[in-house]
């Protein structure tokens, strides 16, 4: 259960005038149970790197291993199936559907897995409790506070109990208090054995004591720490 990238490249709109080389040969490896921060300025390629590790799309070239599978050549459909199992993803803008209730949002990933409504509720309950949003479970997600929304997004990422938790700039829209709260939750998950990868340039995230490793990225390339 690790993530390993070897010479991973990602080119958007390859061959077109709008071609963008988002990643130029990235190699790294992340061991199970680690908490890692991808740090870099906007446009440096954090989201792209996270997407490849999150089985959203394969790299243009190079080798990517997530868990125990090489995903670099997987067709789209199998990538989706694999992502459902392995990855919990928290978006920068939460991407919660405002008209659905909190519990409906959280259990969305269970629908295509053919989980019955009763079982869905059963699985959501402990998460709602752990994240203290039980009292909001039937509220439309559009009617709850930003902090609660953040926790809904976390609960949704965890509903399939995936080994990897990925978050893209999770604190970008949160104030300091909520950012710290988020980090607390995530640290708890790390202790529970999840591998956590955070993309962020927020010092509150990068400099958190529980972060095992910071990976700096610039213009699509890893910045190697200067040897002392």
């Amino acid at each position: 259960m690790r993530i390993e990238l070897q010479n991973v490249k990602k080119i958007y709109n390859q061959g077109m005038a709008s071609e963008v080389k988002a990643l130029r040969s990235v190699s790294l490896s992340i061991e199970q149970g680690a908490m890692v921060c991808l740090r870099g300025a906007s446009g440096s390629g954090k989201s792209t790197l996270l997407s490849i590790m999150g089985c959203v799309f394969p790299p243009t070239s190079g080798k990517a291993i997530v868990g125990d599978k090489q995903i670099s050549r997987l067709p789209d459909r199998f990538l989706t199936l694999y992502r459902r199992e392995m990855i919990g993803f928290i978006f920068q803008r939460f991407n919660v559907l405002p008209q659905l209730s909190v519990i409906e949002n959280i259990t969305l990933p269970l629908l295509p897995l053919g989980v019955s409504p009763k079982e869905r509720v059963r699985r959501a309950k402990p998460l709602l409790e752990k994240l203290s949003i039980t009292h909001r479970q039937d509220f439309p997600a559009g009617n709850i506070s930003g902090g609660e929304l953040q926790r809904v997004a976390i609960a949704r990422a965890l509903i399939n109990d995936p080994p990897f938790l990925l978050a893209d700039e999770p604190t970008a829209h949160l104030d300091t208090r909520l950012s710290l709260e988020f980090m607390d939750i995530v640290c708890g998950l790390k202790k529970a054995g999840k591998t956590v990868i955070l993309a962020s340039h927020d010092p509150l995230v990068a400099d958190h004591e529980e972060v095992d490793r910071i990976i700096d990225i610039r213009d699509g390339q890893l910045v190697l720490p200067k040897s002392p």
């Binding site: 989201s47 996270l50 997407s51 959203v56 799309f57 789209d76 459909r77 989706t80 199936l81 992502r83 459902r84 199992e85 993803f89 978006f91 920068q92 991407n95 559907l97 008209q99 659905l100 409906e104 969305l108 990933p109 269970l110 629908l111 295509p112 897995l113 053919g114 989980v115 019955s116 409504p117 949704r156 399939n160 893209d168």
Partner: protein, 392 residues
């Protein structure tokens, strides 16, 4: 991980229902308009079918052969003496001289069909009647009329009334009976009387009739006998029942065809409108699909979702529209009678049995549900293959 495909489909259906509910205003609007259009088309379809059925019943009472005299290409009356010529043709079971005319009732502004038959023939025909006179025979001065004519004349339970000869002198009549509803289309504006009274009313010569109804012993011989009569009397028009049926069907067919074209184009324009509405997926809908895909919905799940959504809306509209149309036609088809029976000022109170044929259903289905499904699913296909990373 084992996935239960049935439960998965149930989940998607469930989600489809809840998204329909979330956009209930838009969907209710589409449902109402869609149902209305289907209601109109289906009513028309049902009514036409039902009228054709009624016409068939009427034709069952029509004689095998109808003989009319033509002069300068127009129908004129002829002498009863012709009956004697017919007697020589083998295979004729019965001949029935008739007077068939139209009486314009100025006070009520309505046209009546006046049919004169020999007394004994009326008795023998045994028309289904209500409010019959004791004798049951149609004596001179007595008439049988349709309920609609009685209502139109405002007779109520009164039996005595009078009509005018061409010279405006009055002829007195008595209502001897009223047709019961089964024979409606033909008897809708019919006054049946004996031959002599009809002659008197229209001031025809003695022995004059407008046509002769002929019944043939062997139905297979009808065309043959009709040809013989035509050869024998070149100045006549000889109509067989099947020719009359064709005329009927041509009239109904043309009218309903015309109506159908109008209505189908209404349906088509609705579908185009719906297409326009449904295909332009809003930004919000695109985002929703992107999120669902990211969360593990496959392309086929998204398509199933759209299929349920639009299938439910258009299927429900079809059911509602058809049900309303059935009720509408069963209760008289008020909306379309002026188009279908436009020739009669006096609108007969039709007694219709709606008849839905599978082919009609198929036609409606393929003009409503199918295009709507296509209109919603094809654009969804385009968005369903949107990559999941668009929401990052």
């Amino acid at each position: 991980m084992q996935i239960n495909p049935f439960q998965r489909q149930c989940n998607i259906l469930d989600y489809a229902l809840s998204s329909l509910w979330r956009r209930k205003l838009k969907n209710a609007g589409i449902l109402v308009i869609f149902s209305l259009v289907i209601f109109l088309v289906a009513s028309f379809q049902l009514l036409t079918r039902s009228l054709l059925g009624t016409a068939d019943e009427i034709l069952a009472f029509a004689p095998d052969i109808t003989l009319q005299k033509l002069s300068a290409g127009r129908q004129v009356d002829m002498s009863e003496a012709r009956l004697a010529h017919l007697a020589g043709i083998f295979g004729i079971a019965e001949t029935m001289p008739r007077i068939w005319g139209y009486y314009f009732d100025e006070t009520n502004g309505a046209n009546y069909t006046v049919i004169g038959l020999a007394e004994e023939k009326i008795a023998a025909a045994g028309f289904p009647l209500t409010g019959q006179e004791e004798t049951g025979f149609l004596k001179r001065g007595g008439v049988i009329m349709s309920p609609a004519v009685r209502d139109n004349m405002g007779l109520g339970e009164r039996r005595a009334f009078s009509l005018f000869r061409p010279d405006l002198s009055q002829v007195s009549f008595r209502v001897a009976g009223v047709f019961s509803k089964e024979t409606n289309l033909v008897s809708g504006d019919t006054i049946l009387m004996c031959l002599e009274d009809a002659r008197d009313l229209f001031a025809l010569d003695d022995n004059a009739v407008t046509d002769i109804a002929i019944y043939v012993t062997n139905p297979l011989e009808i065309d043959n006998i009709a040809r013989k009569i035509a050869e024998m009397m070149p100045d006549t028009r000889v109509l067989t029942r099947s020719q009359i049926r064709k005329t009927y069907q041509a009239v109904f067919g043309w009218r309903s065809g015309f109506g159908s074209i109008c209505l189908l184009s209404a349906l088509a324009s609705f579908v185009i409108l719906a297409w326009d509405k449904a295909s332009g997926l809003s930004q919000e809908e695109k985002r929703e699909i992107g999120i669902l895909k990211f969360l593990g919905f496959e392309t086929r799940d998204i398509l199933a979702l759209r299929f349920w959504e639009s299938g439910l809306v258009s299927g429900l509209a079809l059911v509602i529209g058809l049900t309303l149309a059935y009720i509408h036609v069963a209760s008289g088809g008020a909306l379309f009678q002026p188009i279908l029976l436009g020739w009669s000022v006096l609108r007969p109170e039709l007694f219709l049995t709606p008849a839905l044929q599978f082919s009609d259903f198929l036609l409606l289905f393929s003009f409503s549900v199918l295009p709507y499904l296509a209109a919603t699913i094809i654009p969804a296909w385009r968005s369903a293959i949107i990559r999941a990373d668009t929401v990052i």
